[in-house]
Point group: C2
Chain length 346, copies 2
């Protein structure tokens, strides 16, 4: 039995309380400064407002001011912030964690650098730790896992990645259940890149759904030839991007493609893709979603930016990434959807 402190009570961080607590661990859920109402609601009802089931009995809830209480005797911290919380986690949380703490982050994404690299959040956090002379064990979880299905015990396969195999094995022993299956990888760049690269491509598949609604009517049946055409092209482009990241491994690709599959069907990336496919512009589509900035699209834009830099230097070739580049034209340059189907042929 371990004591697990989850920091960030978004859907994914909160969902991990289920396998964690069902394994008999002590589980403490701490809200960020933005999560105040969520934590109040959890305290009052024992249920996360956006998750379909109540938490297992015994999960404890903390506001951010109680962080030091929540960390008392903790064996493991789960970082549950979105990619918009990466800096906050770096500045407000990492410095106050006890030395040698094992950290598992659910934050998916990549950051672009000025010199045209795509680096992981673990990279960014490790640099912060090095700069303040602190030692933590930084690990991340990637793979196809929607929070609302995890809490319902849908069978789920994810990968934990980190530097230290002993720490990874321990994290798995604490978190695995008969429905939460955990692969272990020391290829942090590979796993984190795979699950970040899928963002633009999930939007791409959703575009075809909207395009077909435009052609065949809003209530027409789904068409899968065009979805599969984009999905196949995504396999090709993601394979090349993983090679660019120095991580051309089938396990990485499989985690990324599985994550793409689940993202195609869930949530707001699909929704905005369908709106764009129907003919809406990106600004109008964002308004339909109440102006929310989707982290998936931010990450897709960062990847495209680096790809364009590397195309300019001749290190990558535009002909290898027609899908991603068009998606970037839609979300960054505000161009209308016009999928370059023939460019997908080889």
């Amino acid at each position: 039995m371990a004591t697990i402190t989850i920091i960030g009570s978004g859907m994914m961080g909160s969902a991990l309380a289920f396998p964690a607590r069902e394994n008999g661990n002590t589980v403490r859920l701490v809200g960020t400064p933005l999560d105040r109402e969520i934590i109040e609601s959890c305290k009052a009802t024992g249920k996360h407002p956006k998750l379909p089931l109540p938490f297992p009995a015994g999960v404890e809830y903390f506001q951010i001011e109680q962080l030091s209480d929540a960390l008392e005797g903790a064996d493991m911290v789960i970082g549950g912030v979105s990619s918009f919380g990466v800096e906050w986690f770096s500045e407000a949380i990492l410095p106050v964690l006890p030395d040698e703490m094992k950290v598992l982050t659910v934050t998916k994404g990549l950051m672009d650098t000025e010199d045209g690299k795509l680096i992981t959040y673990l990279d960014i956090w490790q640099k912060k730790l090095d700069s303040i002379g602190k030692r933590l064990s930084l690990n991340a979880v990637g793979g196809p896992c929607t929070s609302y299905e995890l809490v319902q015990h849908d069978q789920t396969e994810v990968a934990f990645c980190g530097r230290n195999t002993d720490d990874l094995a321990w994290l798995k022993s604490v978190m695995q259940t008969d429905y939460y299956h955990i692969s272990l990888s020391q290829d942090i760049v590979g796993i984190e890149s795979a699950v970040a690269l899928k963002n633009g491509y999930a939007l791409g598949v959703a575009l075809t759904v909207g395009l077909n609604q435009r052609t065949f009517g809003l209530d027409s049946e789904l068409h899968y030839n065009s979805q599969a055409a984009v999905f196949g092209q995504a396999v090709r482009e993601m394979t090349k991007l993983l090679a660019f990241q120095g991580a051309p491994d089938v396990n990485n690709l499989a985690v990324g493609i599985g994550d793409l599959y689940v993202t195609v069907y869930g949530g707001r990336t699909r929704l905005i893709g369908i709106l764009l496919g129907r003919g809406m512009g990106i600004d109008e589509a964002r308004e339909e979603l109440n102006g929310v900035t989707l982290e998936s699209l931010v990450v897709a834009g960062r990847v495209a930016k680096v790809i364009r830099q590397r195309i300019a230097t001749g290190e990558l070739h535009a002909a290898d990434f027609p899908l991603l580049l068009h998606i970037d034209e839609i979300i960054t340059d505000r161009l209308p959807v016009c999928i370059p189907w023939e460019q997908f042929t080889f």
Copy 2:
């Protein structure tokens, strides 16, 4: 403009009449001896009984006895038989085709040999041609393409494979439209293997749908974590099987994964997978489908048979194929569904 004779009026062969005829070619559709009623129906109504739209004007229909008329002046033959028609096509059709004819087959599948190989239908047909001293240009089409969506002009990406690049380029020029996009490949084994290997895995994804209906109720929402878990494992196993086939190429994998994606959502493979997942045995599930033998399951069984032979000799490892081996246990050994989730972890 070319004259195209399609032999076999199943859904896929017949659907290719649409891009072929819309390009202005002369198109003749010939039924096999089993297609007599279909051809009569096409003659009477101008529509294939199982396709959602009437044929383009000008398509001509022939019973098998009129084959020589249908071949008069033909530039190209499309082989439209299912994998159960491979031998008939070899014995009744290949020998009577004019020398140097360009043949494009839609038949997807692989045949297992006694010495543990998986060979393509083009291989089998080429051996037949060699034995009778006949020269034809044998080519095949693979990739994600459902017939009923193709005729509706859903955007579709496929790959033509064959030995001769000039013939491939000509076939593309005759068949491509603004909705039918054609890649060209000389890797026959790669393309044909990719689109055959997907069969067992499509059943695997469908199993999870049935399993969840058993757990959450028949009218429960679809769950995607478990579908994606199987899909990701399929990426890993198909990559290894393509390497076994000597065709470890990303284009092959992308065609196969695209085809897997479309197969997960269409037709009887999905249906039988759901029935099995709900807890039905394979025999009962087959009865539900009116005793029809699904070619996809026959092909999956052949692949599994060869994998088992190679595992026995130590050339392949059971740990690399837990999903396919379990699917084979279900369809061949009649075992109940019990997906080995933890074996998917690496």
